[in-house]
Amino acid sequence: MMGGFITPFLINSAVQAITPILLAALAGTLCGRVGVFNMAMEGQLLVGAFAAVVGSFYTGSALGGVIVAIVATVGFSLILAYGATVFRGDSVVICIGMNLLASGLTAYLLRQMFGVSGTFSDPGIVGLEKIRIAAINTIPWIGWIFSRQTAITWLAWILTAIVTIVMFRTPLGLRLRGVGEDASAAETMGIDVTRYRVVTVLVAGALTGLGGAQLSLGTVSIFSEDMSAGRGWIAVVAVMLGRNHPLWAALACVLFGLADAFSVRLQGQGLPNQLTDVVPYVVTLIALVISHRRRRSRVSETITAHA
């Protein structure tokens, strides 16, 4: 059944589709670990995607696009980095504001810079190269997953590993975890909590910038309004499902990606797309229920956590 239903192509394209979500989820995990609740990934991805297209269009190189995307998204993330720390703003409000700003600003700039609305595509936008390594292509599964992927997809998985190692094996990671668990305790140990948070949020911004670049330059060489299309929110859910652990968050992304690929497949079986579209979200909801089932008895704790 796997052979016919889930084909190498499908897995390959699912991996490609997961990449922006994975990068955003890593970003959210990092922020969550230092105690900044980031739900602005939707907007960050959008800024990254837009900046990548702008960069690629004006520099004539995909790398230029990626660099511009990272710089722009890091710049955009300053709002959260300083707003939620130095200025002690509420991160939920800031993030919702950032998502709106990203949506409005990219649409506005799209019209004013390129005179188009909706979609901007131009042969001048150089997309990311797909890496073809002959040796890998022939290996089953690995080949299916990693052949003809962009450097950003490779990077996303390498970064997942790096983030995990840094988080759990290095002094830096220990400090980050401490900052997130109890900022005042970290502070008494001489850690500059604000600085750790600001830098982490900005690094997370760079990650989502990469994700945005993959969205607009990796998959297609196009920017269209609101093209993040809920991927940032899925990343927020992945962070929550993964309980701020990068590997679990990555697993949640994979789950979503597979459910999505599966739902596309179901369309081909005559199910209406309006219903198959819902499948990944229902799978995610079920995963949330399952992951929370065990904690049921601790009623007062959830109330506390919620407060």
Binding site: M39, I79, Y82, G83, V86, F87, R88, G89, D90, V92, V93, I94, I96, G97, M98, N99, L100, L101, S103, G104, L105, A107, Y108, L109, R111, Q112, M113, S117, W233, V236, V237, M240, P272, Q274, L275, D277, V278, Y281, V282, T284, L285, L288, V289, H292, R293, R295, R296, R298, S300, T302, I303, T304, A305, H306, A307
Partner: protein, 342 residues
């Protein structure tokens, strides 16, 4: 260190909201200038488009759903809860409001009333699912309410795209609601929905200020643990509040469907983005219903003016979205809007 430095350079005390609006206007003007537009013309058109007496009906017509969705967000927010599922609840309400007069027998005006009540109950129940998930499993409502929107939207889209589609058109939409079951028009685009929404807004403000439930909700917003310890049953309260919030979303859906679109059209309830604008407005006022209503009216005027600006100048109306975002960000960062007691 930096704290004291900042406070010594503090600007003279200007009330926060006007200051934020000013900042938004100035930054917006810069954006327009940089992109080669004329900010003065832009703002003039926004003002005329929103506030010239001839345009009041348009502004009010836009304000009814927007203020409604503001209240949808504000009610839970008052108790420290966030309902991100307004879109789904709106769609559930709109769909039910369209199906009742189409598929139930009965005299028109009665159907209208039944449709509105059914829409409110359906959307309220749908919103309560997220509340139940939180009290029963501890699934954060913030995320479950958002996720639950997708199935609602998808299934509604399927229903009007297949089994209950108006087969005389090529779109996913129901057939037109009979004239008798539509909301009576007041004048121009305005219909009785305006009055319904005014009543709801007044009721919410009254609830917040004068009732025991309002007091308990406020206390919960300030410290949920305190409220629970003091004898407020948080679980049932969560469900109640989410039901009320969802019910208002359902009412908004019903008003749009029964009052102006006269059918449920796939996507038409969501494309104006009332949910997010309403959430912004509610956040702006920290969930306080009167302030939220004011903020909702302000955003409605701004957006209506934005359409006029886009018609008259070459400046895209998304500029008003940028203005809203700047205002809310400024308030959140500089004045701690939404900051919760820790």
């Amino acid at each position: 260190m930096s704290g004291s430095a900042r406070s010594s350079f503090r600007l003279p005390r200007i009330p926060a909201v006007p200051l934020a609006v000013l900042v938004g206007v100035v930054l917006g003007a810069l954006l327009v200038l940089v992109s080669g537009g004329d900010p003065v013309a832009a703002y003039r058109e926004i003002l005329i488009g929103a506030l010239a007496p001839a345009n009041w009906p348009n502004t009010l017509n836009w304000a009814v759903p927007l203020v409604g969705m503001t209240l949808v967000a504000a009610i839970p927010l008052r108790g420290g809860m966030v309902n991100l599922g307004g879109d789904g609840q709106l769609v559930v309400g709109g769909l039910v409001a369209a199906l009742v007069p189409l598929y139930l027998p009965g005299p028109g005006p009665l159907l209208t009333i039944v449709a509105i009540i059914a829409a409110m109950i359906a959307a309220g129940l749908y919103a309560s699912i997220a509340a139940w998930g939180e009290t029963r499993f501890g699934i954060p409502m913030l995320i479950s309410s958002l996720l639950l929107s997708y199935p609602a939207i998808g299934v509604a889209s399927y229903i009007v795209g297949f089994p209950l589609r108006d087969t005389t058109t090529g779109l996913a939409q129901t057939v037109m609601i009979p004239d008798a079951a539509r909301l009576p028009t007041i004048s121009g685009p305005l219909n009785v929905g305006l009055i319904l929404m005014m009543i709801v807004a007044i009721a919410v403000v009254f609830y917040d200020r004068r009732t025991v439930g309002g007091y308990e909700l406020r206390m919960r917003g300030l410290n949920a643990k305190f409220a629970g310890y003091g004898g407020v049953s948080l679980g049932p309260q969560t469900v109640r509040i989410m039901f009320a919030s969802g019910a208002i979303a359902g009412l908004v859906g019903a008003i749009i469907v029964l009052g102006s679109q006269y059918r449920f059209q796939d996507g038409a309830l969501l494309s104006p983005g009332y949910t997010w604008s309403g959430l912004m407005a509610a956040l702006l006022a920290g969930g306080e219903p009167l302030g939220a209503t004011g903020a909702g009216l302000f955003f409605a005027a701004l957006q209506t003016g934005g359409f006029a600006m886009q018609r008259e100048t070459a400046i895209p109306r998304v500029l008003t979205m940028v203005l809203q975002a700047i205002i809310i960000l400024f308030l959140a960062i500089r004045h701690g809007v939404g900051r919760r007691a820790s």
